[in-house]
Symmetry: C2
Subunit: 804 residues, 2 copies
């Protein structure tokens, strides 16, 4: 595949005031206002300081907007990128033109390129005029409001002064605003009959704090062309020198300064006012702060480091691949208009509404969609909270109560959980207490870990080989490291069980639990992150080991009941929990992060309680759901109010979150169904390329990251201790010369620094890969809409960074 | 004040399919489509089953839409409510008409009334045609999209087939959608040149799953009126019987059935799939579930109980005053378009973006606005989390660490907190551990309360008198109950201190703490809800007592350092904490819930750490901020990463929440500044009516609920044990015949049931007051935009309910 163009850096320079002119409708006078603004700007600027760009123009040459500008504002540089002669919408004109239809990227790159040229030769103003109304389609068919969004140019909106124009102007404004455009000025013709100017001035002042400027209408068309030109010329002279147009230019000038001043000062102000999460702030200086002007798709637009110099000609923004998926939340891309509109609909229909003993459609439909998507005989009910940590606390309250009642433990007999070493379930005290003592929690004053945490075999690609690595301490019990032909072979738990690989795992787990119980330990739930332990250090666990843990616990109620107690009756419900309630923390691993709706499927088993957040809303707003079986639910059922699950947050099941989640799930499931990730699966992951025994669909694992990239990087054995990729996650374990590992190692910093330094100014401005490390692990996480092109570009950066 | 009309129940009947017709622009053929839809519907309906309503019409009678309907669809009943002859926008026409301009309410009430008449006489269809475009202003000047939103009629959008019409149609759709309208169908003329129909069919199918129907254009205008009429009549006959119009009617018919089927089944489905927060679900039946179709301002639209019968003529929805402010979150009204657009802007500009070591404008501006609003020398930094409970866990981690380091406590020496009995800080385990054992937490498996909780004097209006009530056990130490002339006099803590009222309080607190410390107890923070203990039972605490607690602790570092340790150096920072860090949980009490930006002002003191949520986002999405002093922040500063505050949620400082919060704070502060609550303050609360000594502004307390209502209800001493009102909160403590109090009392259920039963069908449909009780306390909570009229109506219901 040929190297794709680098991502687009939004055009912003200190010296160049670039604005995009949108119209509330067609025929509202966009070109007249463009001409006026160009002339008024030129009058304040020495030399040929003003430029005009028409990216797409339709209609005969003689009526083209660039000609109009040439005629009436001859000192303004002007250019049209794509001109179509037929006076219809660009999407039709382009189709009929018999020329290659420019893609959105092509158009944006050329716009940026023209802006960069303007900046480089010292122009002060650039006006970019769109065609038709805000949602008129561009050549590709995408509407302009969506197409131009990545440029993030601030906007002058030309309002409609005709009958109905109030409505057109407000709706056009809203369509822009909900795509994150900063509409800095509304301009329209003043006219006495409909008085749209009066209404709109008041409306925008009251509701949006946006100034509205009114300008007299141009003269009526004269009988001769010559007269017409003369009248228009006179009109432009008068109006461009008039107060109103001048005020607009002054305002745009001021807003440009303010935007830049704000970007310049944000890092310093942030360090003064913000208390950052998970951050030793004394180690940070303003240059360490990622100043985010906007985001689109997989990319942030951030303040470029060079821009701190006073150079007027450096591009201020650069594209930054969001390599941590914004703390693992992103799936459907930043600023996704579908999710925006879903959020806006729910906000407009409900706001937030009381959920205790109440129901609204978004919550009910989301619950149905989640339960259906999980397709588990053990998950019947949905409890809502706000984030993974609270969702885990809910799961814990559910699981512990169920176990306590089944086994008749007294209140004083505190139950612990069974988990894995290095697990992480959130930052609230209850969630923290589910993890073993570690750097995350040992200094936290009320932390008090309650449970037993197993060590386990992990999966890594090392020097090109896919290996199950057994920790040294466990080799006697579990055997030596073992190599496999592929990741899919490791994940083929059924074949491996047929070969008896699980027998030693199960024996070890059973014996360990027996020993603990003999020591007087009591347990109330199992809680694990299926397959990947995220925050604990991106460990890919041998799925067979987790499956063995679940199976042993379920087969061993004798271990968990009171010593000497008779065996409880076999529950009539075949989906009732046995042994201990099994909680799966799928906050990070579920909902397609690892390529599947539920990460429980990798273990080929079902949880009794399952927690889902992060990707649940596609990466927009906080929401968490804790799913549980009817059997668990019934543990809280009685005639006593105090037996209820006494948990609930104010914004429980807030409609905005539910509607966005519903939209996200639908979109993700549709992508899955439509084969949208076939390009990724064919990057060496397809099961046909793995061993014949692993042909069952449950064993098919794949990643957004190409298999040859993973294997090649793993061969850099002087720097890389191992690597894995699954779904959209890539985790590179770096060798730490000092021998220290875990969260507080600095080993991965070098690679991170290389990626963050990024590419210097290129065709579309500079770009880099923003990423986070977890101690000695550098991970990259794509979204579910990340393109093959982006992955190819980043793969190249990784190869460069590791000289692979 | 004359009794205002009751709130509007959204018009929905089983038998009547009512749709609102909006136009993407003026002159797009709304009336032609109305006529077509009326005729097509009539063709499927026996008798005069179809009605047409034009709420507002402008232009000469001869061109009026109702005439057009009469002419071409003579079997359709039709009506115009307000007709203005001048062909301009209704807001101008109404002004020029020399008649009373109808208010939005008047218009909506009349629309509902007409729909009710249609339902009562068995009509099957009603089409309500708007004027101009979606945002064309109504007579009052409010744009129609905002004005008609409370009706919640589903919509047929007439698209624009002209050049530019694609943009107009999509923008109009978006403006409707973001106000919660269900646009069920888009219709427009088919036309070959611009092919808008083709584009829009595909666009709406792909993006919104909304069908688009195309109909041939009407014949060109003929030279004679007669010919014209004949041609149009023929056109209507052909098109209304054509497949496309028929498909629209079938679709609208189906969607109506689906909406009702969904409302009918939601309660049952909810009880099967949802696990409700804080609810003993076994005590619920479907009729206990509040089925919410939509919400607007202070009112839900809920499924009315009678509608479960199969009667075709009962109105299905009723207006329900959101009397719990949706778990205390609501301030600026449900479905507030300002908040919707703020949310949409942030979603469209950022989505969610990584906040650790990052910054974006909404987060920074919100931080600045909060710190400025708090106006506290002790609050310098903002930490973000998702809800009050997590915000408290953050505060706790901050406070305990600061105390531990200052006093040199070892890790094993667990520190408790100092609080008040009945306090409540959230449902996560760490937050629960800040509260004494109670019905909320004692059955929760990992709950382990850590601290000492003081009992305290409360404030109540009893039998018309404002009284500080001292619990019997404390009378020896604190003295007897005391009556005051007004609530403001009780809140005048400065005057009361001048009189020495605080001396016994301080002595009692100091002695209690001395005793506890002698017993070996160690403390790390004070945590209190200023003035009102919410979830713990709506107790209004004597502010002087809380102030005394803060003052004693700050003066008593000797009590909290290790026994025998030397006094620490006086910190150079005058705003450094002393004694213990003071945490104010303002989640419920702050941000104007009690009438002021911060509830700390009632205590005339400043916290070291302060937690804010609920009203922070005006009632739209979850967000919490924990504010702290620089001095506290510095406790976490070192060269060691593990000393950092290791807390942070995935959606930390999500831009949607921050932007909405910024908009909310601005709006609330503006209302405060503009005197928007003067009507409430003048309901007997103004300080001039209280004692002269309490004239200082800090003592001015007031409520949305009239003082005479509070005092009158308090005189129902056979049922009411006391009552208080402050800000938007009213709390009625009901006498429990069984003697039990607290969360699990059922005493307030009777009054609640009366309010929820509500009014039967009235002028604008039925309405009720939805409210929650906390044991023996029934509380009502208004929003910050609740009107005097709503309060007057609800006050009447309360008087009826208590026969006061």
């Amino acid at each position: 595949m040929p190297q794709p163009p680098p991502p687009l850096a939004s055009p912003l320079w200190r010296s160049l005031r670039a604005y995009q002119i949108f119209g509330a409708n067609t025929e509202v006078g966009k070109t007249v206002f463009s001409t006026l603004l160009c002339k008024a700007a030129a009058a304040r600027t020495t030399g040929r300081g003003v430029a005009f760009l028409k990216p797409v123009s339709t209609g005969p040459d003689s009526e083209a907007d660039d000609r109009h500008i040439s005629k009436f504002a001859s000192d303004v540089s002007n250019k049209t990128l794509f001109q179509y002669k037929i006076p219809v919408s660009p999407h039709i004109a382009a189709k009929l033109s018999n020329t290659t239809i420019p893609s959105n990227d092509t158009l944006l790159f050329q716009c940026r390129d023209y802006a960069a040229q303007c900046a480089n030769i010292g122009r002060k103003w650039l006006f970019v005029e769109t065609a038709g109304g805000v949602h008129s389609p561009g050549p590709s068919g995408t509407t302009q409001a969506d197409m131009y969004a990545p440029l993030r140019l601030p906007v002058v909106l030309v309002g409609d002064s005709r009958l109905g124009g109030i409505s057109q102007t407000i709706s056009a404004f809203e369509s822009l605003r909900m795509r994150g455009y900063d509409v800095e000025s509304v301009v329209l013709f003043k006219e006495d009959r409909y008085q749209n100017f009066d209404y709109l001035s008041e409306y925008f002042a009251e509701h949006h704090d946006v100034p509205v400027a009114g300008v007299n209408e141009p003269p009526e068309r004269k009988s001769s062309l010559e007269e017409d030109v003369r009248a228009m010329a006179q009109y432009y002279e008068e109006q461009s020198q008039g107060k109103h147009t001048g005020d607009v230019i002054s305002h745009l000038d001021k807003r440009h300064e303010q935007r830049i001043a704000s970007l310049d000062s944000m890092a310093t102000q942030a360090l003064e006012k913000i208390w950052y999460p998970f951050t030793q702030q004394s180690l940070l200086t303003p240059k360490d702060i990622n100043v985010i002007d906007s985001a689109h798709g997989d990319y942030f637009q951030t303040l470029a480091p060079s821009s701190s110099s006073s150079s007027q000609n450096d591009s201020l923004l650069r594209a930054s691949f969001d390599g941590s998926a914004s703390w693992w939340t992103q799936g459907l891309g930043h600023a996704n208009p579908r999710l925006t509109l879903a959020a806006a609909y729910a906000a407009g229909r409900y706001g937030h509404v009381m959920f205790a003993s109440g129901i609204h459609r978004p919550a009910l439909e989301l619950s149905s969609a989640l339960l259906k998507g999980m397709n588990s005989p053990r998950l019947d009910r949905v409890f809502f909270s706000d984030n993974g940590s609270t969702g885990i606390e809910v799961a814990l309250k559910m699981g512990l109560r169920a176990a306590k009642l089944r086994y008749g433990w007294a209140k004083e007999e505190k139950l612990g959980i069974v988990g894995l070493k290095g697990s992480y379930h959130g930052d609230t005290i209850g969630a923290m207490d589910c993890s073993e003592p570690s750097g995350y929690n040992e200094k936290v004053e009320w932390y008090d870990g309650k449970g037993h945490w197993f060590d386990y075999p992990t999966v890594l690609c090392i020097d090109g080989k896919w290996r199950v690595n057994v920790p040294e301490e466990l080799r006697q019990a579990l055997g030596e490291d073992a190599d496999f032909s592929s990741l899919s072979e490791i994940f083929d738990v059924q074949s491996r069980e047929q070969k008896g690989h699980h027998v030693r795992y199960e024996a070890f787990i059973r014996e360990s639990l027996e020993r603990l119980v003999k020591q007087g330990r009591r347990f109330g739930s199992v809680i694990i992150e299926p397959v990947v332990l995220g925050a604990g250090g991106m460990a890919l666990v041998d799925p067979l080991f987790q499956r063995a843990l679940v199976n042993v616990v379920r087969k061993s109620p004798d271990l968990f009941r009171k010593s000497g107690a008779a065996a409880e009756e076999t529950p009539s419900d075949p989906n009732a929990w046995t042994g201990l309630p099994i909680i799966f923390d799928e906050v990070f691993t579920g909902l397609y992060r690892l390529g599947r709706f539920t990460s429980s499927s990798f273990l080929n088993t079902y949880a009794d309680i399952s927690v889902h957040a992060k990707l649940l809303t596609g990466g927009l707003v906080p929401l968490c759901t804790t799913l549980a079986s009817e059997n668990i639910f019934q543990s809280f059922s009685s005639q006593d109010k105090t037996d209820a699950l006494l948990h609930g947050h104010s914004y429980t099941a807030h409609p905005v979150g539910c509607q966005v989640a519903l939209e996200s799930l639908n979109d993700l499931q549709k992508m899955d169904h439509d084969g949208s990730w076939n390009w990724a699966k064919s990057q060496g992951w397809k099961s046909s390329e793995t061993s014949p025994t692993s042909s069952q669909s449950s064993a098919n694992v794949w990643s957004t990251w190409p298999r040859d990239l993973v294997e090649d990087l793993s061969r850099q054995t002087d720097r890389v201790s191992g690597i894995w990729a699954l779904g959209s996650v890539l985790a590179i374990h770096i060798k730490d010369a000092s021998g220290s590992t875990g969260y507080f190692s600095n080993a991965a910093q070098d690679l991170r620094d290389t990626l963050i330094a990024g590419d210097s100014e290129g065709a579309n401005g500079s770009w880099n890969v923003h990423c986070r490390v977890l101690g000695n692990v550098l991970y990259l996480m794509a979204g579910q809409k990340t393109t093959e092109e982006s992955i190819a570009q980043i793969s190249l950066e990784l190869r460069k960074g590791l000289q692979a």
